[in-house]
């Protein structure tokens, strides 16, 4: 069981590095996530790992700790509805309004790539409804190793059987031994980049849609509010923000308001902007 002092150190360290707000009851998570890291770097147990971190709070071991703690489980078409809404409501709306057929999407917590690839598959599947439309997908994550996995687009049989209808597996994946690789034409639709949400968004450009699902939950309220307000600044005035099923901006940020009748979908809050 991790010592209280060590746990506090980890809480502070992770908050500084990634914004991750590790609450009091997550000791079990430390053990399950960091014991493998300790082993990998030739140490015995989390205690020794913390000792190493105290001595060297930056560098390869520190990076490995941050990555192990911030990696989130991901699945294809998670929650299903946002993908249907994306192709049947959000994209057509934006196209109709602008006359331009170019859309920029940011997946801000891409993890192992299932979310951006699900968007890409949805677009391919519905290409006949969106003639001439180009969607640029930028997918970022804090952790380098998950991005490598995402870029490779190689998934286990378990991963491709969660959230993926069998027809999609046949259509969009190639079997590679025991694993399945998403086809090159789908991979080509997504650009992956390592990025920390705590860093400045300058240089990312402007987006029409931002997917930020199930990552803000790990931040404390001030950090959540900060990330949301900076996202509002890189989102087109008529753009959309998509959060996870259990998330909300209410009580956290008035940069956004709910897009009526559509859970998880938000638009810029003009009133707040006008009075700012």
């Amino acid at each position: 069981m991790i010592a209280a002092g060590d746990y506090e150190f980890l809480q502070h360290f992770l908050k500084q590095r990634s914004g991750l707000n590790l609450s009091q009851e997550k000791q079990y998570l430390i053990e399950s996530r960091l014991a493998p890291v300790a082993r990998k770097v030739g140490l015995v147990g989390v205690e020794q790992l913390v000792t190493r971190l105290r001595a060297a709070p930056s560098g390869a071991v520190a990076d490995a700790v941050v990555e192990a703690m911030t990696t989130n489980e991901s699945s294809f078409f998670r929650d299903k509805t946002p993908f249907e809404t994306f192709v049947s409501f959000v994209v057509p709306n934006l196209i109709d309004r602008r006359g331009s057929r170019r859309i920029r999407v940011w997946c801000a917590a891409a993890s192992t790539g299932q979310e951006p690839y699900s968007l890409a598959m949805t677009l391919k599947e519905n290409a006949h409804l969106l003639p001439g439309v180009t969607v640029e997908i930028l997918a970022t994550d804090l952790a380098g190793h998950v991005l490598e996995r995402a870029q490779a687009g190689l998934y286990s049989a378990f991963e491709v059987q969660r959230g993926l209808p069998i027809q999609y597996l046949l259509k969009y994946f190639e079997q590679k031994g025991d694993q399945w690789q998403i086809r090159p034409e789908i991979r080509a639709m997504v650009q992956f980049r390592q990025f920390n949400l705590l860093q400045s968004f300058a240089g990312l450009g402007t987006f029409d849609i931002i997917f930020c699902r199930n990552v803000l939950i790990y931040f404390d309220i001030p950090t959540k509010a900060d990330v949301l307000s900076r996202m509002a600044k890189v989102l087109a005035p008529d753009g959309y923000l998509v959060l996870g099923a259990a998330e909300t901006v209410m009580g956290i940020s008035d940069a956004f308001r709910s897009a009526s009748g559509r859970p998880g979908l938000y638009v810029a809050n003009r009133l707040a902007e006008a009075t700012a």
Partner: protein, 136 residues
Amino acid sequence: MKTCLVVDDSPFIRKVARKILEELSFEVSEAGNGQEALDHCIVTMPDAILLDWNMPVVDGPQFLEAVRALEGGTRPKIVFCTTENHPGHIARALIAGADEYIMKPFDREILAYKFQEVGLIDAEAEALADAGKPLA
């Protein structure tokens, strides 16, 4: 309560599938090969069939063809559940009338998701099935 027939020549697989399906509120029957399964369906057509590929006497694809030809045979949702994972097998199964396809090894989450995908359980039930797994 929806009924599910588990067709597999492995008693162990049938037991594992039964456990998961009963937790998902299915009334479960078992058959050790395609002939037994066909005999069962002639008497009572289940709502769902979990179907292995390689079995003695009558195998999965043979059973599929025969059951779909029965009266009421287009009604059950048929999900293959097999170690055969070649895209050719999968395509063949779907063309022959299977609704979905599970590649072994499978777990509760996969079974629940695939059953939800074909409309046998609703999203809420699937989410409850997911609830056991640890959060990120």
